[in-house]
């Protein structure tokens, strides 16, 4: 059937400009489901970029509540959220759904470490916007076992990184070392349970958050767009202090627990770092 071209049609389509980028598979993106782990500064920016990029189905996981010190970096949180101590996942989901009609976001108030394999398998892409290495390891191993690409972001001051891990490539644990083990162990008591210990807040500011989240979401768009050049198994390292952005390679480590044997069927305990 012949469809008549309507003058000004391109102005009515929210995603018209994105559809003009050849490699970008806007249709697949709009049909994909994304799991966002962490609803802090990075989570806010990642979700903003996701919903504006055309994603319509997201789940956001965070156990924490909004505090006033979050407001300088979290576009979706308000003074009222801080005053009421709203759960971050709920505040973020509500505000992001209001930004783009037709988007559905499920907030999950809970610890990332309590998510099961089934929680990961439901999604096409996982973003790690986390603030600790234990949660990252859980996300890394479970995404991998579920066969879902995992994109991990991290920031400290004006330094940031984005790591793209696909199920058949190197993973986050391949690039880890004894300093990661030490940090992970600090969070546990001898009983193996989480303990409270003083950890000074990590320095952070919004411009680095914006850059890191943009790089992370861009890689997510590439992973879902078949015709895009991707950074599988590589790490983008951004140093805002020196205005340098580099791409580092990571090899599969045969000693990595996710690669030394089949990761399928690993128990929850095995999915955390050996201490």
């Amino acid at each position: 059937m012949l469809v008549a071209l309507r003058i000004g049609y391109e102005k009515d389509d929210r995603l018209d400009r994105a559809k003009r980028i050849e490699w970008l598979d806007v249709d697949r993106i709009s049909r994909s489901s994304v799991l966002v782990l962490g609803a802090g500064a990075l989570g806010n920016e990642v979700v903003k970029n996701l919903v504006l990029s055309g994603f319509k189905e997201l789940a956001i996981v965070d156990f924490d509540r909004v505090e006033r010190s979050n407001l300088s970096r979290c576009v979706f949180f308000s003074e009222m959220d801080a005053l009421q101590g709203t759960h971050k996942a709920e505040a973020l989901a509500r505000a992001a759904m209001a930004l783009v009609p037709g988007v559905f976001i499920k907030p999950i108030v809970g610890q990332v470490e309590n998510l099961t394999m089934e929680d990961f398998e439901k999604h096409d892409l996982v973003f790690g916007c986390l603030d600790n290495f234990n949660a990252r390891l859980h996300a890394n191993s479970h995404s991998r076992s579920a066969g879902v690409p995992y994109i991990d972001g991290g920031m400290q001051g004006t330094i940031g990184k984005v790591f793209v891990s696909l199920p058949d490539g190197p993973c986050l644990e391949c690039a880890s070392n004894i300093t990661h083990s030490r940090i992970a162990a600090l969070r546990y008591s001898c009983t193996g349970r989480d303990v409270s210990f003083f950890m000074p807040p990590v320095p952070a500011e919004i411009t680095t958050t914006s850059i890191v989240s943009a790089l992370a979401v861009r890689e997510g768009l590439r992973v879902l767009s078949k015709n895009a050049e991707r950074l599988d198994g590589q790490m983008i390292y951004y140093d805002g202090g020196r205005n340098v952005c580099e791409v580092f390679e990571i090899d599969i480590d045969t000693h990595c627990p996710n690669h030394s044997r089949s990761s399928r069927g690993r128990s929850e305990d095995e999915a955390t770092i050996s201490r």
Partner: protein, 82 residues
């Protein structure tokens, strides 16, 4: 018999300072990171060691990583915040 050693340079990305390290083939990246972090009194935190564009996994040995005398490795922070 004299064991062959590898002498390489480790650079502190945060300060630009360097230290020479004498290593044996079986020394690991973990040991290099620990020694360098201790030498510079680094705060507790995650760091990675890179050679050029490659990040070296902690369990690799000097031999596995094909490190040779004169190599320059850089200790960079691995940002943990979100």
């Amino acid at each position: 018999m004299i064991a062959l050693t590898t002498v390489l340079k480790v650079k502190n990305a945060e300060t630009g300072s360097t230290v020479d390290m004498e290593l044996e083939a079986e020394n690991t990246i973990n040991e290099i990171i620990e020694s360098a972090a201790s030498f510079w009194h680094k705060d507790p935190g995650a760091y990675v060691l890179r050679r050029g564009k490659k990040v070296l996994g902690g369990s690799l040995t000097v031999k596995d990583a094909n490190l040779v005398s004169g190599d320059v490795l850089e200790l960079i922070p691995d940002p943990e915040g979100g």
